[in-house]
Symmetry: C2
Subunit: 195 residues, 2 copies
């Protein structure tokens, strides 16, 4: 059909197509035949580009986590102020999440499936670093007096991280812009809903 210019550009396109499906139905619920249909080829032909369905998932997940971790590292490197750091984390995450919708859906839907396999051990590693980063910033904020001293750091981290990842799963509705979501999120996190 449409011929790709550079080698393996076709491959990247297939990953993109598969990702769109994963983002809507999850990894397990998406069949290789559906992916092939979206690409206009037969299911068997996919195996000319990938050696398994898991490889496609692997590519999507590792690319996502690399970007996320890069954003986290930059956020804490540039800033001394924990509140600014968290705000920076929120901004970089939101950008990454809208670019990697598929990865997050996979993590939420099929975490049990992936996290059990040795091949995806890096998932746990990355999650640990994310947790560590949040906890450090929250603790620092408590010490400087910017955050409430009575915060349960670990509980707050779990809530904040998951809250941050929520809007991604909202069907790509044009209801709210990314800016609006970031705004609503930040104000909620820092100030709550009370006047």
């Amino acid at each position: 059909m449409t011929q790709s210019k550079s080698p393996s550009e076709r491959r990247a396109h297939l990953v993109q197509l598969a990702g769109d499906l994963f983002a809507e139905k999850g990894f397990r619920a998406t069949t290789v035949r559906e992916i092939a249909d979206a690409a206009g080829i037969l299911s068997g032909s996919l195996y000319h580009h990938f050696d398994s369905k898991e490889s496609i998932g692997d590519e999507i997940l590792s690319a996502f986590l690399e970007d996320v971790l890069a954003g986290y590292r930059e956020a804490v490197r540039d800033t001394a102020d924990p509140r600014t750091a968290i705000e920076q984390i929120v901004r970089s995450s939101t950008a990454n999440l809208s670019r990697h919708r598929a990865a997050l859906t996979m993590l939420q839907n099929d975490w049990n499936y992936f996290s059990g396999q040795p091949r995806f051990a890096y998932l746990r590693t990355a999650m640990k670093e994310i947790e560590q980063t949040w906890i450090e910033q929250l603790e620092r904020g408590k010490q400087t007096g910017q955050f409430r001293a009575d915060l349960d750091t670990r509980l707050t981290y779990r809530l904040l991280r998951d809250i941050l990842w929520l809007p991604t799963s909202w069907r790509s509705s044009a209801t709210w812009s990314t800016e609006q979501i970031i705004d609503g999120l930040l104000r909620l996190l820092f100030d709550g809903i009370r006047a």
Copy 2:
């Protein structure tokens, strides 16, 4: 084997077993053979009690939504104050969610699967009522001056409802008690993390 006292007590037990599996892996990812294994019978024997796998899911989901809606209705009936109403909603929801872990996992993992079928049309109906309730209370709070006037009501509702349902998906860890979670949740919602 063990004989049940009342008729269809066995059936209720099977629903319980299936629910435990659904809560961990989701509905689609759980096979009837796994359910049967957990019960110590063969997969085919399940069909003596249920006419399909979907029926089990139906039973779990409808029971959950009935309880949730009852909690919402009671919360807004008894209270004139919107802040108290929301606090009441949070409390009743948390109780319901810990009792119906399976249902929420199913809604999060397999929403696309269920919401498409006519049989599960009540899912959309119930969600609409939940949304309506939240929005009413948020609007009232804005009018009385208790909540910030610049809140995007619909966006805030989506955030709050999803946030409320988050902790359920946290594996039944003994890390935090229900009381702790409610506390952290309420303080975060109303006051944010700032000191």
